[in-house]
């Protein structure tokens, strides 16, 4: 099935008005509380009464309020549930629910309603400004990095802004991925070698903020791996997917970002290009959250959702079609792996583990823990840092017990959290795969006797 078929099918088969289904799915709740059994936050604190209470159970009050607005006899009760703010948005509740209730999505929308009603914290606004922070930080990266790693400064930031002084903040790169790509493109235009390759030989890379401002090497590893499989990476201008704003209840700002991203991406999708991302939370936002959270449910968002792939998901699909380049060299290592919550929300299994299994010598270990705690920006917040660390604690202990030199994880904020909590360098799976190809090159070039 081609991407164009998928995009066409998505127009027909995706449920109409996904955003309305989220609220009404409360009606399917059996009150079995299975969601509570998998909630990482409720596991470590009872400040959060659990997904059922703030989700489907509180939803009837929200629905009553909506009805009141529409002139029913029910009185408006406002938002009944300020404890919903303790939800980290990891999505495990939705994954485990046997009755298909969209609990995490319901909670996210409830938080957004509270922010819309009562306003939110300046800190939470700031955490949503990933592009602004990146654009300011990268040009002054030595100073910015020194400042943000400086303990008195961090103490001051905690006091003034509410970002915990020990929370893992990333290191700015000295140049953005966009700027590197643009200058390479200019060089090729000048040389007259620039032409957009067709969809069977190229994909669109959605790099997200992490690979743009902090970890361009992750995107470069992806570009390398894609090229080794016959795909050029097209990197169109793009902004933050909007997830940090969604998680902090600022849907209007996130809708602006969706509006900025969708026309370009949808145009590529309709022309048969796949959209590939290295950040599993960005790709999940493109696939599901524009529609389910932001009510952006139109031809463009559907086309983009249908055409979007997580990088490892895409490579596994290539392998299933017999098209993956498997010229991997040996990597003699035990590699502990953490599957991020957002990856699980994709419903695609653990494609990174499938890829690791193809690399000779590589023994990947699934650390089999629910959540590292960070949940995007949740664990950065002063009042939530301790909770986030407690959520991730068993993971950190399990990782340290392996004694491995490095670990792998698909999501940037999880990697930063794991590195800060364990001092174990943690890489994106695509970096491991790129290293396996590089090891293959070394073997091939070394094999002829001199």
């Amino acid at each position: 099935m081609t991407i164009q078929d998928l995009v066409h099918e998505a127009m027909v088969t995706m449920p109409a008005q996904a955003h309305e289904d989220v609220g009404l799915s409360a009606d399917q709740c059996l009150k079995c509380n299975v969601c509570l059994t998998v909630c990482p936050v409720a596991r470590v604190t009872d400040l959060f009464p659990g997904p059922k209470y703030v989700g489907p159970q509180a939803q009837r009050f929200r629905l009553a309020t909506q009805l009141a607005v529409q002139g029913s006899v029910w009185p408006a009760v406002g938002s009944p549930d300020s404890t919903v703010d303790w939800c980290s948005g990891c999505g495990w509740c939705t994954t485990a629910c046997p009755a298909d209730v969209k609990i995490a999505e319901m909670n996210s929308r409830a938080r957004a309603a509270i922010v819309a009603d009562r306003g939110g914290k300046i800190r939470d606004w700031l955490l949503g400004q990933t592009d602004l922070i990146g654009r300011l930080g990268v040009p002054f990266s030595p100073l910015a990095n020194w400042t943000l790693q400086n303990r008195p400064v961090r103490w001051l930031i905690e006091r003034l802004v509410g970002i915990h002084r020990k929370a893992p903040l990333p290191i700015f790169a000295d140049r953005t991925l966009q700027s590197k790509v643009r200058s390479a493109e200019r060089r090729r235009r000048r040389a007259g070698t620039w032409a957009e390759p067709p969809p069977d030989r190229a994909v669109v890379l959605f790099h997200g903020c992490a690979a743009n401002y902090y970890e361009p090497h992750v995107a470069e590893a992806a570009i390398d791996v894609l090229r080794r499989n016959g795909f050029e990476a097209i990197v169109p201008p793009q902004v933050c997917c909007g997830l940090p704003k969604i998680s902090n209840g600022r849907y209007d700002g996130a809708r602006d970002q969706a509006a900025a991203n969708l026309p370009t991406l949808a145009d590529y999708a309709r022309r048969g290009y796949r959209i590939i991302g290295t950040s599993t939370s960005c790709t999940h936002t493109l696939k599901a959250e524009y529609r389910e959270m932001l009510d952006v449910d139109d031809a463009d968002s559907r086309a983009v959702a249908a055409a979007t792939w997580d990088i490892c998901e895409f490579l596994v699909a290539l392998h299933d079609e017999g098209r993956l380049n498997t010229a991997f060299g040996r990597l003699e290592e035990r590699l502990p792996y953490h599957a991020p919550c957002q990856l699980r929300s994709h419903g695609i299994g653990l494609p990174a583990m499938d890829l690791f299994a193809l690399v000779p010598g590589l023994e990947a270990i699934d650390l089999d823990h629910d959540c590292c705690g960070i949940a995007g920006t949740y664990g950065l917040k002063r009042e939530k840092y301790e909770i986030a660390m407690a959520v991730g604690e068993p993971l950190f202990r399990r990782l340290e017990a392996t004694g491995a030199a490095r670990a792998a994880c698909d999501s940037e904020t999880c990697r930063w959290q794991i590195e800060a909590a364990t001092s174990t360098p943690t890489r994106h799976p695509i970096e491991i795969i790129a290293a396996a190809y590089a090891a293959g090159d070394a073997t091939t070039s070394a094999s002829p006797p001199r």
């Binding site: 059994t37 046997p98 696939k287 599901a288 959702a305 979007t308 299994g349 299994a357």
Partner: protein
Amino acid sequence: MPAPDVVVVGAGLAGLTAAVALADGGARVDVLAAGHAASHWMPGGIDVAAPAGAATAREGVRALAALSGHPYTLLGADVAVALGFVRTVLEESGLPYSGQLDDPLRQVPTAIGGTRRVSILPAGQAAALAPWSPNESLMVAGPAEFKDFWPGAIAASLARSSPWGSAEGRPARVEALALDWPTIRGRHNVNALVLARLFDDPSWRAEALAALARAVERRRGQAGRVALPAILGLSDHAGVMADAARIVPAAVFEVPLVPPSLPGMRLYAAMRAALLRRGGRIVVGESIVRVERDGARVSAVVATTASRERRLRTGALVLATGGVAGGGLVVGLDGRVVEPILDLPVEVPAGESLLAADPFDPAGHPVERAGVRVDAELRPLGSDGRPVLDNVAIAGSQLAGQRYLAERCGDGVAIASGWRAAQRLGAARASTSDASVRTGAA
């Protein structure tokens, strides 16, 4: 990726039994489940059969196997070996069970002060099974902060109805013990899971069990047993039971609660761990919507993902998606019952309306008997009574002809059918793998 030999859809007792048994035989198994359900709802015992009139589970199986169309007509002979296998697996995961098929079915207390007839229970509930001696009392104990278990109401109800039979004796007294556990004093939001996780902490439980021991000792001179709500640990249940035996001067047993049920969660965790140890895989949150066929074989299952369908090739399929409660059968507003994944014909008891029936009839609801009809190999049958798919087995409460609530046979049918499914599909594995390679190349 190489296609698994078998995909098991459903992670209840039937699906997990099939998956562990398949992996045990060397098959590559993927378990896919839409969510957690049956395992997290079940009280944790293994109800093999307890129809009215049967004194033991084995007698119950025999009686049910004599009923036309009951799954035990096909599976009765497999129950003992399946039970032995499952118990070995659970014990290997640190969750031993007590009781045998030939042990008498006993009345044990429930969390609303009724009783249920059982004979095979996890060790944590097993102290409820022994006959009561004439001077023994039953102390129903729990903290006042916990709203899913009311010792006073349970004790009063048991004392009034005294449901025990003559063979099992009866407690001399049934009384309530109110426990005062300092860390939860005055907390309004304490649930079973919170308490179980507190019990996982050795120092917390030492204090809680000491408080229980003092309350028991105040009933000076009375021999007795203590019924506690099923909150005695999640990750370290065995450690809690060992400490309870050491600290409390009376035998302690758990009474299962409303969902989420800790004994069911422990059973799920033990089976999952056994599956992973054998190289099997499990993904929760994956809804299978349909399959792809290659003649009379299923060649792939199709799952929904965040934005599109995902196709997973497989050599064979175990469908263990449950009955109406588990979502494996769906009743439409018109009263029609459908099996949504394979669209198999669903047998519905003739001449009875599912919607008009008395939902509280002690003989059971007719919809319990609705299900998929299978042959002796658990292959689903078409409306002409002939097998429609060769490499498919149906397991668990989706099988037609059982009244799993009234006959208390759901767990026995689950393990026997899971076991049988694994035997057949495991044996057919070599040829199945060849077939999956062929379809995978398409």
